[in-house]
Amino acid sequence: MKHATPKATQHINQNEGLIFEKSSAGKAAWKLPPLDVPEVDTKELLGLSERKDLGQMPEVSEIEIIRHFTRLSTWNYAIDLGMYPLGSCTMKYNPRVNEVVSRLDGLANGHPYQPEKISQGALRILQTLSECLIEITGMDAITLQPAAGAHGELTGLLMVRAYHESKGAPRKKILIPDSAHGTNPATAAMVGYAVENLKSNARGMVDVAALASQMNEDVAALMLTNPNTLGVFEQEIYKIAEIMHAKGGLLYMDGANMNALVGKVRPGDFGVDLMHLNLHKTFSTPHGGGGPGSGPVAIKKMLQPFLPTPVVITKPDGSLGFDYNRPQSVGRVRAFYGNFGMFVRALAYTLANGPDGLRQTTEDAVLNANYIRKGLEGVYDLPYSTPTMHEVVFSDKLQAKKGVKTMDIAKRLIDYGFHPYTTAFPLIVPGALMIEPTESEPKEELDLFIDAMKSIAQEVEEDPQMVLDAPHTTRVSRLDEVAAARKPVLRWKPAQ
């Protein structure tokens, strides 16, 4: 490498094939206890339904499995290794006590259908978390059932639809700003709504005049991310809410960026009618390589009849239980009650913080993003100079003159020991570099990041080809994604 980087050093790591390539007959990593009931004749019990062969399933020993997955793990970048500045994804520290409490026997082994009288612990967790989230968002009620953010959006729009139907007609359209996450329009389509695009103004915010002219009785709701995907707070939020409400529409807030607001301002106080939260972003549950998430939806009172079934209630005797008798409900969006294990973690996080910790967390997240903005302004193009909240979006305009795009800079960042930022999103910024440090980064890590980004900008000037060829230090170089899509190989097969 041309410039030595203080953040990372290359070191040896192990090669490892696919697990199937290690398999051989007779190896085993399992042992069952002796059967304490009579053996059965499987043929007699199952007849033609009996399975004879499990094909290419592997046969390996326990140490091989430990090494296999440990080796694979060392090929991943992770928050535990360093800053993971993916904009919009909120890669913050995942506290370990959350993992411990979610594995306590009564919680980890609780069956969803066990009688309510021996489920009071789980019900209390559902209720306590609900109360905390309602207070944090300033809303009136909540469902924890949705399994992820996009699933929360689906649940929210189902309630929007049910609400309008109860008023006479479901309406036809959902307004979505051009800066929105792709899940917003995809969700609207799933609920049978047409999508109408809403243009941003020159400051990267909703064009309020355009909204006023596009809003009419056909519009069911506006789906708004606030702060939006540029990390900009919609300053005219109350005007936006008023325009929606005046024509009977609802204001849906995509809560993906709620980590910029917790303890400082509450969506319920600025006119939002319903919103989803991403427990895996704001509330620190682990991303786990892409799930599980959890996407509770908080709502205002008028939407309460439409909540998915069941809801947690306090019964006359003071105990907690589930209420299934909700005739106006949108129905169920998932079996059982949602990703309970994530509720345990999110609640543990909330308890660890308390009101002061939650507020300080938000302040540090915003402080970190502004510190990066200050450090990189001028080095990278800042398309919107509007104040930054928890994330900052630059563009590759300056570097593109040398033929280097945002993805190339991102790949080079890997060589400096960082995970890349989010590339090419939001769509309203061509060649976007979307950077979200979260509150979890110390000043030293931020300084290393700023230095790395400056150094790459310099490399682009001096030796653009080197940046185009990055990363140079990973176990694989850039992978051929076109070939992967053209002739998909989606599973291993034994050599013929």
Partner: protein
Amino acid sequence: MRYLPKSPADREAMLKAIGARSIDDLFAPIPAEYRLNRDLKVPRQMAESEIVDWFRERSRENGDGYATFLGAGAYYHYRPVIIDSLISRGEFLTAYTPYQAEISQGTLQSIFEFQTMICELTGMEVANASMYDGSTAAAEAVMMAARLTGRDSVVIARSVHPEYREVLATYAHHQGMPLSTVPFTDNARLDLNQLDKSITTDTACVLIQSPNFFGTIEDINAIAEIAHQRGAMLVVSIAEAVSLGIVEPPRQADIIAMEAQSFGVPLGFGGPYCGVIATREQYVRQMPGRLVGQTTDRNGKRGFVLTLATREQHIRRERATSNICTNQALIALMANIFMTIYGKVGLRELAKQNLAKAAYAAQQFGKYAKVLFSGAPRFNEFALQTSEDPYAINNQLLEHKIVGGFPLKKFYPELGNTALWCCTEMTTRASIDTAVRLVAESESSAQSAKSAVQDVQEVVR
């Protein structure tokens, strides 16, 4: 706050570098009238030891230490300890979706192995990287069938998990997708005559579950033949994945929607679980969810990437195959490790123990109460009809730290006093024998009460 890595001096220095007087300057974009000028009313900041204590208390209130006969879509199987050792590695736990392939090969390769094993177990050609759970996977599979066939309506077996059917109803409602339900017969298998009558030229697919909600294995051949003859697809939901160790998979299906919870995922009061969709290669471009594919790097070295992303919401927005974004990667990793541990031989032996325990329990219970639905093969669940209300029986069992079968009244009122009992390799003979004894006692007292009433009636007459 112990998770925040800054000293007051750091914050000062950073504010100074930014050119802000105080942190409030950075929140100036929020109109003052909406700013929260008080503490949130949430519990005060707690020490780690207090947090552990609080949740221990909740754990104790939550059926800790009970033996369970509950199944019904969530199964209590042994979880080998190395599952948690491995998924607790920060490089798996705290990584994001593997968009940056060069530094995500661990996650990507493990998903590729997961896809391969799901294909092997289901007999399908391709499997995705996971879905939220079995219920949403079934709903998404049905919508996929509608896209593939260009047809709108769906025929569902009444023996599909009732909550899966509710989820499908929610999803289908706004897709303009009419649903019709086909009953089951005396052996709990799908009523083939009714199935035949229910399929029209507008039927996109038939959705069944096997083993079905009652634990009965469906006649896949016959159902597939009827569906396919009429141009409809067959979608099979599998809620008890361990069954695949000994039950022939529904190879004739066009799409399989699975719940992989049984593969090493804790019951966790209902989630997170791990749905999966598997199908034939020719349908892959209509499949929702993330997919990992094999490719090579610039030096010809094998590597893995997320692929066929043009199906997905971040590219196609409102024209995507689904709005699903992330999957259940960490839970899929649990399932992956579980499948690797048991493998080709262990999975069969494990399934065989489940079969044996349930067969023994059904036989023992059958001496004192009525096991319904004989005449078709079952896996590890059976329906038991009693004279006494199963809720009352379960209350008695709870006194002995046993959670009895799942009362079916709520979803199948026509079955009366029937509960769905499940046995896995975790169910001991001792707990089966105790439960049988308690049910026998309850039945005999119910019987004598009944005959006493009859005696009285006869005397009166």
